[in-house]
Amino acid sequence: MAEEKKYMTLSMGPQHPATHGVLRVILELDGEVVHKAIPVIGHLHRGVEKLGEARTYLQNIVFSDRLDYTSAMNNNLAYCLTVEKLCGVEVPDRAKVIRVIMAELSRIAAHLIWLATHALDIGAMTLYFYCFREREEILDMFEMTSGQRLTPSYIRIGGLMNDLPEGFLERLKKFVDNFDAHVDEYETLLTKNPIWIARTKGVGYISAEDAINWGITGPVLRGSGVKFDFRKATPYSGYENFEFDIPTGTHGDCYDRYLVRLEELRQSNRILKQAIKMLPSGPVNADVPQLVFPEKEKVLNNIESLIMQFKLASGGFTVPKGEVYASVENAKGEFGYYIVSDGSSNPYRMRIKSSCFINLSALPFIVKGSMVADVVAVIGSIDIVLGEIDR
């Protein structure tokens, strides 16, 4: 009489060092082996999509920073691209290149957080301090340009908040010159580290077909060998003038995803080097007066700019009727906005497409049959951010 196998249900709960926020994974364990994993999310559901319908287009920029708070500028870019396509506004070249600089800097910051926490979960403490040291320099640059470190809201509809301050480019040059050496430093710590290899090689395998079938995008997809990147496939904000290559893994396990992301750090650095050289001069905002705030001294001196500033700040601007979906290659994958506008100054529906949401849905499939400790490695290697998952 083979009695039914009773599994121990264990909750890798909302408060757990390895769940990178408030994810809860209910594990049904047969000893050490995971029989079934059921992710439970929603603990950080703040109702941003509902809130978006009650706020004007200008106010919604603020929410975009708090979705994937590790790489805030990429989210700004996604939101602003969507609204600009709705209004049919073209951004000047200088703003495009600055947007690329900011997007790549926040991608590097996001990957540094991923590397710090992923290595910390598996036990490598030193990476945490090295990665945060570099990330501090990036945050200083963000604070220098926009006044806020983590959620700058620097990229605005029709251009940018303001032009780059002096001293920014020298600082960026200094950062870019010795960042490659830092990435090699991380590489020496981990790539040939036997413990790291034992914990990540062959762990969390997902094949290319399954990855596409699950709708996974970003480094996880590239780790399984699919050479696909939205910056190359559907270029936006001037990405077509930069050359960089798309790193891909071969085995589709945690180790390959780690290598892909390290290579992406170098590629982002390469883009930044090109961007510094080709940064054109000129205006930063499109001259569409009903969308973009007038300059500060104009507002103080003549009355029309003052009226325009007041109208924009209080009532916001109206967007023509229509619906647009635009997406950006965020550090975690495709991050997009689908905005339906009914001609008023509030979006009728603001839908946020989050790549972490779909990547995480593949967790039960990836983790089935592996050890409990591998669940920690896989969650770290999928690189989830709960602000973007729960919205």
Partner: protein, 117 residues
């Protein structure tokens, strides 16, 4: 008797420190038991089911093997200390002891008890 005094002092100090800290903390510490505080902690969730379940037998086998070979290693220490005095007799004796255990290891290895799956 003389050279046992330090050990006595050490034991007393250890005793005072251990019991002292327990007594002081029980006096000073506030006792506010509530329903959640007495429940086992599981990431903020109320634990489901009980931990006393049938464990896979692998754990038991590994534990037994460890005990056997750990004690074998423990026996080697006194032998190693008196290695010179015991001379050939001790060596042969220990050899016989180890051969028996190695035969046991080979048997266990052959039976596949060392594989984890």
């Amino acid at each position: 008797m003389q050279n046992y005094l330090p050990i006595l002092i050490l034991a007393i100090i250890a005793l005072i420190f251990a019991c002292g800290s327990l007594i002081v903390s029980s006096l000073i510490g506030q006792k506010k038991p509530n329903e959640d505080k007495l429940r086992p902690y599981e990431c903020g969730v109320i634990p489901v089911g009980d931990a006393r379940q049938r464990y896979p037998v692998r754990y038991y086998i590994v534990a037994m093997l460890f005990i056997v070979f750990d004690i074998e290693a423990a026996f080697m220490y006194p032998w190693a200390v008196l290695f010179k005095e015991l001379g050939w007799f001790g060596f042969i004796e220990m050899l016989v002891f180890m051969v028996i255990l190695i035969i046991g290891l080979i048997y266990v290895w052959g039976k596949g008890a060392l594989e984890w799956e």
